[in-house]
């Protein structure tokens, strides 16, 4: 049986959604020059606030509102310390993550210890009329809950914002050369404030999706590194909306397959074929770029042998078992390898993580 089926595609979309929500917001704030390491903490506090509000109000929408508010207020602290007080953005982000982990754990134990564990009702998936009847794509892409559609619509909205509005131009200027933005009359601090808060709100939404959108309960530290994955996705996606979306989908696909593999008795043989072909494609793409260099044909040989090894493993179908921890670490390993592979070809916003002080040279 192949693990690459409709259920896998559908899980890919569901698992990509929280990362996509967070990294779309983070993309905007990084384009404005604010690197938000505190993303993880904002997701976590969104997850908690969302659960808390919908637990007591029995309303999903109020939960969403609370999550957005929680993410945004943590982001406001981030903005206050890193923009107003010009503190180091990375240090501030690390501090926020610790505060968020401590505060959510503290509050969860204070409020919910002794209460019966309940699972909140989950929002129903919405089948888009027409589109959801397409075979394969329909059930996997167009029968999802509302937040999933919001995440993908947000990518389009952010693209329009960044590249088709004056505001977007100011945002990009604030991240590339804040002195120039300042000179041309844009208020760098105000731009950075609003972009940071937008990133926090989106991270809060991502957290709400994790707690009340997908499982209906909260666990301590449930963001489980998704904030860091989202930061990697922004880099992997080359600081461009569509690139970030593709990066999130790729990471979501890896996450979906590792979840599946944990349950399989041994590694399905088709996986070897897929890995071999992906490795071959990566090397072949490199060969196409550098085919005029001497010895470049070696890359072609490597590409063909990768594909060959994959095919051989597919046919031989060894019954190997790997520990679940290997699969659990796979998304992080893939994110790391992806960063190592692409980072040289993309350029980060010049003023990223640099506080702007009027009168100081960048």
């Amino acid at each position: 049986v192949s693990p690459f089926d409709v259920a896998w595609l559908s899980a890919t979309i569901r698992l990509a959604t929280p990362v996509l929500l967070a990294s779309t917001g983070e993309l905007v704030s990084e384009r404005a020059g604010v690197l938000n390491i505190g993303l993880e903490g904002m997701i976590l506090s969104g997850a908690f606030a969302g659960f808390l509000a919908s637990y007591f109000s029995h309303s999903f929408l109020l939960g969403l509102g609370a999550a957005v508010l929680a993410g945004a207020s943590l982001a406001a602290v981030m903005a206050l310390v890193s923009i107003k007080a010009r503190a180091d953005q990375i240090v501030t982000g690390v501090g926020l993550n610790i505060v968020a982990l401590g505060a959510t754990t503290f509050a969860y134990r204070e409020i919910f210890s002794g209460r019966p564990a309940i699972e909140l009702a989950l929002p129903q998936p919405i089948a888009l009329p027409g589109l959801s009847d397409i075979p394969v794509i329909g059930p996997s892409f167009f029968r999802q809950t509302a937040l999933v559609y919001v995440a993908f619509l947000a990518v389009g909205a952010v693209w329009l914002l960044l590249y088709r509005t004056t505001w977007g131009l100011s945002i990009r200027a604030a991240g590339e050369l804040p002195t120039a933005a300042d000179t041309s009359g844009a208020n760098v601090d105000r731009i950075r404030w609003s972009c940071t808060i937008f990133a926090g709100a989106m991270a809060g939404l991502a957290g709400a999706y994790l707690s009340i959108g997908r499982v209906g309960f909260f666990t301590e530290g449930m963001s489980a590194g998704r904030g860091f994955i989202a930061l990697a996705a922004v880099i992997f996606g080359g600081w461009r909306p569509v690139g970030v979306m593709l990066a999130c989908l790729a990471l979501g696909a890896a996450d979906a397959i590792q979840l599946r593999l944990q349950a399989e008795p041994s590694v399905p043989s088709v996986l070897w074929l897929v890995i071999g072909l992906i490795a071959a494609a990566v090397v072949a793409a490199k060969w196409i770029r550098r085919r005029r260099e001497p010895w470049s044909w070696m890359m072609l040989v490597v590409a063909i042998s990768f594909a060959g090894i994959g095919l051989g493993m597919f046919v031989a179908a060894p019954q190997w078992r790997f520990p679940p921890q290997l699969w659990l670490s796979l998304p992080y390993v893939i994110a790391l390898v992806a960063l190592a592979g692409v980072v040289r070809r993309v350029r980060m916003p010049t003023a990223l993580a640099t506080p702007y002080v009027r009168g100081h040279e960048l």
Partner: protein, 368 residues
């Protein structure tokens, strides 16, 4: 010299104020949670310094904090940010535990020495992955170290559920490591081992190396102005990678202490227990000066040690300590610019433009 004293005074004042404010905010949180802040603080103090055993516990918790903070200072002196201490602690400690469990028949000092050597090397090697990715593939070291932390957690989890699990296979932990590989106890019937002496010694060593040796000068020059350092003939990339490895090695040593100096001496899931991040708090509180690390580590260690009793006797969850730590980071970060500014203004005030930024003063130092 007067400026330096003024700067130090401002820095100490700001750090103290930040800590006091963080504690005050924590007390407000305790009050909101419905407990008496006074009782909670008394429990915190009793738990940290109440008797011989508690004091020894506080000092034991200080050791990894000091080592991690030194690691941060070394990497940060070249302007690189290592937030992978959690992972480096886990890998270093796991490697030391492996030696402690699998190597037999060595005399006590040799066995301990070997375990430490392997642990330190493993921690450094794990940091080198991030350093290599930074140097050769320009991968941001912040993201890579964070991801490596998450990978290390899974690696240790696999070890304690698989190859190194205790023989009955009912608990996710290893057997205790051989006594010959343990740190000898400094105070009988407490947790405190001789690794405290090593940690304090390393504070002096790191301080000396950074300030008084050519190697330390290269590190600081690279950190202050990479371009200028390269033009002055320093191999900046190599220097930075080396600093990163040393930083990871110090975290690896912290990992060794957490296993070889612990009461049980077993390898467990997630034994780094947030020391990797708390160590960063220590370094920031000390404003990246080795001398400040000891008091800052003592403070955070006492919070950690006292948090347990506070939870047990007053019913305030010990995760409050995490909130306090995070607040300390935010407040120290927020005041750093103010302190810096104060210093720059004082230096700049007399004559119009004597450029005494750290890089410029180093160029002068180099010319001398």
């Amino acid at each position: 010299v007067r400026f330096r004293v003024a700067y130090a005074a401002a820095a100490i004042a700001a750090s103290t104020a930040a800590t006091a404010l963080a504690l005050l905010l924590s007390m407000i949180i305790i009050a909101i949670a419905g407990a008496s802040p006074v009782d909670a603080m008394r429990a915190l103090y009793e738990g940290a310094f109440g008797n011989r055993v508690q004091i020894a516990g506080t000092l034991t918790k200080m050791i990894p904090l000091v080592l991690v903070a030194l690691g941060w200072i070394v990497a940060f002196s070249t302007n690189r940010i290592n937030i992978g201490f959690e992972g480096q602690i886990l890998i270093g400690g796991a490697a030391a535990a492996f030696i402690g469990l699998e190597v037999t028949g060595l005399a006590a000092p040799l066995h301990l020495g070997l375990a430490l050597l392997v642990g330190v090397t493993a921690g450094g090697a794990y940091a080198l992955i991030a350093a290599w990715l930074w140097a050769r593939r320009s991968v941001n070291e912040i993201i890579s170290t964070l991801l490596l932390n998450l990978i290390a957690v899974q690696l240790v989890s696999w070890l304690v559920h698989g190859p190194l699990q205790e023989p009955t296979r009912s608990f996710p932990r290893s057997d205790p490591v051989a006594t010959s590989a343990r740190w000898p106890k400094m105070v009988a019937n407490t947790s405190l081992g001789y690794d405290l002496i090593l940690a304090l010694l390393l504070v002096v060593v790191v301080s000396f190396v950074l300030r008084r040796t050519t190697f330390g000068f290269r590190l600081r020059f690279t950190g202050a102005n990479e371009e200028a350092a390269r033009r002055a003939g320093i191999r900046t990339t190599f220097t930075t990678v080396l600093a990163f490895a040393v930083s990871g090695a110090l975290a690896g040593l912290a990992g060794c202490s957490l296993i070889l100096s612990s009461e049980t001496g077993t390898l467990t899931d997630n034994f780094s227990a947030g020391y990797g991040f708390a160590g960063i708090v220590v370094a920031l509180l000390a404003r990246n000066k080795p001398a400040g690390v000891v008091p800052a580590a003592l403070l955070l260690a006492s919070l950690r040690q006292g948090g347990g009793l506070m939870e047990a006797s007053v019913g305030v969850p010990a995760s409050l300590v995490l909130i306090t730590q995070g607040l300390v980071i935010l407040l120290v970060a927020a005041t750093a610019f103010v302190v810096e500014r104060l210093w720059v203004v004082r230096v700049d005030a007399p004559t119009p433009a004597p450029d005494l930024t750290p890089a410029a003063s180093m160029v002068k130092e180099a010319g001398r």
